[in-house]
Symmetry: C2
Subunit: 192 residues, 2 copies
């Protein structure tokens, strides 16, 4: 019992009290439930891997996005982390595929371009499999540095490289916009 509590405590946001409560819940649950939890934990490490095309976390390789017959494989959206894909999927209007960098350039944290997974993207571009690359890294210093580096690296004749818009969030008030966001919103204005 103490060992389970200790293991649970290693999880983020789980303190001693929570770990104890979870451990007692598992103790009281049926054998089946406990076994399927144990199996699920094991499977995550055994069965999940990175998609060889886009680096997304997947249980089948290539992942379901990269093999979808309804998606435009020539439109690639680059994100920092696998979780970012969900943010773009929920718009329900993106019909292309993804490329996951697994990080962003951050000299302060010792992360350079060589630590990002870029090679399989450049390979796709070199094989002329891509029309447009949308860089959807975060609008932070690290995300912007990554976007700049990436655009310089992957820009080729015939490949369009675009950056998602920075600006005022929908439903917000320009009164509450910080000056950098307001500036980006002015610079990024579009003709009506």
């Amino acid at each position: 019992m103490t060992r389970l509590i200790d293991e649970l405590k290693k999880l983020p946001g789980i303190g001693g009290k929570s770990a104890q409560r979870l451990a007692f819940h598992i103790l009281r649950s049926s054998d089946d439930d406990a076994h399927s939890l144990a199996q699920a934990v094991r499977d995550v490490k055994d069965k999940l891997r990175l998609c060889s095309i886009c680096n997304n976390i997947t249980d089948v390789d290539p992942c379901t996005y990269c093999t979808s017959p309804t998606r435009n494989l020539r439109l690639v959206c680059v994100v920092e982390e696998p979780t970012n894909i969900a943010a773009i999927e929920k718009t329900r209007h993106f019909n292309g595929v993804y490329h996951v960098l697994h990080g962003s350039i951050s000299p302060l944290h010792g992360v350079g371009p060589e630590h990002l997974r870029i090679s399989n993207l450049t390979r796709r571009i070199d094989k002329n499999e891509v029309d447009e690359v949308i860089i959807a890294t975060n609008p932070t210093v690290e995300g912007e540095a990554t976007a700049t580096y990436l655009s310089q690296t992957i820009k080729r004749a015939g490949v369009k490289v675009t950056r998602i818009a920075m600006g005022i969030p929908v439903g917000s008030d320009i009164e509450y916009a910080d000056e950098v966001t307001m500036l980006k919103a002015m610079e990024g204005r579009r003709e009506l």
Copy 2:
């Protein structure tokens, strides 16, 4: 004394206790201070008016923006309220002039286009005094309705009508973007 407290209580965010504290402060202050406060309150109503060119609140007509020799009078940024001008000025990169609508179209609150101050803007455009109109109304339902109405009303040959960018705020994470903002950020992407 009771009359002053009652008058102060009418101000937004000033309750009974605050009004009392303010009233006692005024009572204890010098004659000069009390008089200049009274004069300032009177002057606000007596001397401030709307600029006849841009509808901004001003003590000189036309306002200092409209008569500035260093500003581009042919680039007009349309805002809902006079306070919005400050949000754009703090970017320190906007060099044009303004037009204040004093509201936005909101059928739910009974505000139609006829309640907005648009006529002096269309007059400026008709006299061929404008190259570009940047519509910087809020990215809300009302602000968007106003932008659409305005763009239909003021669009003329030779006048560019643009809308400020909606998207992810600078320094934010795409993880926290709502789906409409994320969609606008994808739609509004720009070539690098």
